[in-house]
Amino acid sequence: MYRIRIHGRGGQGIKMASRILGTALFRSGFTVQDAPKYGAERRGAPIFSTVRAARATGPGQAINERGIIHRPDLVVVADDTLLAVPAAGTLLGIDSGSVVLVNSHEKAATWRERLNLDATLLILPAGEEVEDRAELPHVGATCAGAAACLLGVIEPEALAAAIAEELAGLGEPVVEKNRTRALAAFTAMMDQRGVVREGTAIAAEGFTPPSWIELPFEDASISAPDIRAAANSVQVRTGLWRTLRPVIDYDHCGKCWWVCSTFCPDSAILVENGLPVIDYDHCKGCMVCVGVCPPHAIAGIPEYLAQAQDALETETGESNGPDTADR
């Protein structure tokens, strides 16, 4: 049985990627289960979806597992900035038999060194999707195409048919765009075709349940205490949702903080000494401030470039960047 986990951000078509891959596997003769993670996360937030596929050769081939995949055979990471985010859980349960496919501008050697994983790490060269938000919804199909190739059991025709089936409701132009990207990604991975190995299915018979830790029943005041802190949602760092980073050029800032600070939907632009300061721990990167700034003093730059710049400046000791974490 193949166990595949696809990680990305809300809005990148990650749920659709699992549906495309699931349908392509089904069309290739597999019994399939695919599902997105359900939660309150929104566009830009780390999310994942899963696909399980077993060879449907006879009775008893049903997939007995449910829920989150803890030991993946293939992990697809559609957005490489998620690798550094523990909450995204991209690296959960990876072992020497796993294949990790990362959609990135950087080289495989760089990520191998950074992550030091005992797994096969491959790169799907990132395209324009990362620069242009309008292209974001196509990331999912691109990743599904690359994953289909790595599995080695899906023919391009089955992949194309799966895309047509899953995206039919969105019209032929959308289907065509996604198909083109998926097939290009499939072709790009041909050197590694079939690199993913099937994990062994766990039989329902003889299955040992995990050793549960029994928690004693506690009084409600202990098990669900009152939260009396005001506005404690600041502890949730929604800044990691961001794919574009707004940066204020203070040389051109008109000091009209009441514009950007008021329009920011997330209250993430603070006012300090008459100047607006962006709280990057919470800014979700909507770019509303970029659009409303009267002197056009705020620019949106891709988050991965901004992070690379931060790292460089920290290394050379020039600046640590504005630290808003403890405000």
Partner: protein, 306 residues
């Protein structure tokens, strides 16, 4: 009346009460309106929230609010507000809390609840002259569950339950008129992209007692299908094209707080949103565009300048 009147953009609060770190979508027009409103209302506010997107604001153990928050079923937020108001009144009457600890009770619901399911409870609350503020963030559909159409969905908009070349066949319900027909203390329409108009209305509502009803049109990047950076631009176009009239009802009289002159064609507003893409692609639907424009024109023909 308070002496700290908001007259210019510069007078808007520079500190924000609503906490960051909420799970609302990036670029949420509803959250933009809520944070602007909360800044004017102040900390002594208790929110009664019907099921909807904003239910997710307070997911245990986190909250962006500085006070209490009560969650009710979709149709029952005004009933919940009645209970909270009654409890506060009893505490005040018995001297168990000093008058300065009194709270403003604010109902927070989406359009699914305000325009549809919760209408009966709201009507009852106005009948009883309940002293509360009702804030409806109107993103013109059941956004939290995937943008199914609601009675606030505009004519022709594509939603997950109104697909096809004609979009939603119904017309957006005039909730302002429905609410004003109850003759409550105050009714107003606002939008986050016009923060000065919004702040003045909330300031006014704060000084009045009785049912004060606010509808905030809330551009929704996810449900309306546009890039989140356009939330303010789309909001401003909703006002300038005349789609979203900014007005208030007080003492039996409706006043428009903004009279858009030289209204740009409504399609300037429509064409930025994916939910109206079928009006322009593959071919322009002249008939439907003309119908939408004509309805906006007819509305403004009946508006007499104050």
């Amino acid at each position: 009346m308070s002496d700290a009147r908001i007259k210019r953009m510069k007078d808007l609060p520079s500190t924000h009460l609503l906490g960051t770190g909420t799970p609302m979508c990036s670029g949420c027009g509803g959250l933009e309106a809520l944070h602007e409103i909360y800044d004017v209302l102040g900390e002594k506010t208790v929110f009664v929230n019907a099921a909807g997107c904003m239910t997710l604001l307070s997911v245990y153990p986190f909250t962006p609010f500085r006070g209490s928050w009560l969650y009710t079923a979709m149709a029952s937020a005004p009933a919940g507000a009645q209970g909270v108001r009654d409890a506060l009144d009893i505490l005040l009457e018995q001297g168990r809390i000093p008058p300065e600890d009194d709270l403003e009770v604010v109902v927070l619901t989406g359009d699914g609840s305000a325009y549809g399911m919760g209408m009966s409870a709201t009507s009852g609350a106005m009948d009883r002259n309940l002293d509360f503020i009702y804030l409806c963030y109107d993103n013109e559909g059941y956004g939290n569950t995937g943008q199914q159409y609601s009675s606030a969905t505009p004519h022709g908009a594509a939603t997950s339950t109104s697909r096809g070349s004609r979009g939603y066949p119904g017309y957006k319900k005039d909730l302002f008129a429905v609410w004003a027909a109850h003759a409550p203390a105050y009714v107003a329409t606002v939008i986050g992209s016009e923060p000065l108009d919004l702040a003045r209305k909330i300031e006014k509502a704060k000084e009045i007692r009785g049912p004060r009803m606010i509808i905030a049109l809330s551009p929704c990047p996810t449900g309306w299908d546009y890039d989140p950076k356009l939330s303010v631009e789309i909001g401003k176009l909703a006002v300038s094209t005349g789609v979203w009239p900014l007005k208030e009802y007080i003492d039996g009289k409706v006043t428009h707080t903004r009279l858009p002159h030289d209204r740009p064609p409504v399609e300037e507003y429509l064409k930025l949103q994916g939910r109206f893409a079928h009006l322009f692609e593959p071919a322009r639907d002249e008939e439907l565009l003309a119908d939408i424009q004509a309805r906006v024109d007819r509305y403004w023909e009946n508006v007499t300048p104050a």
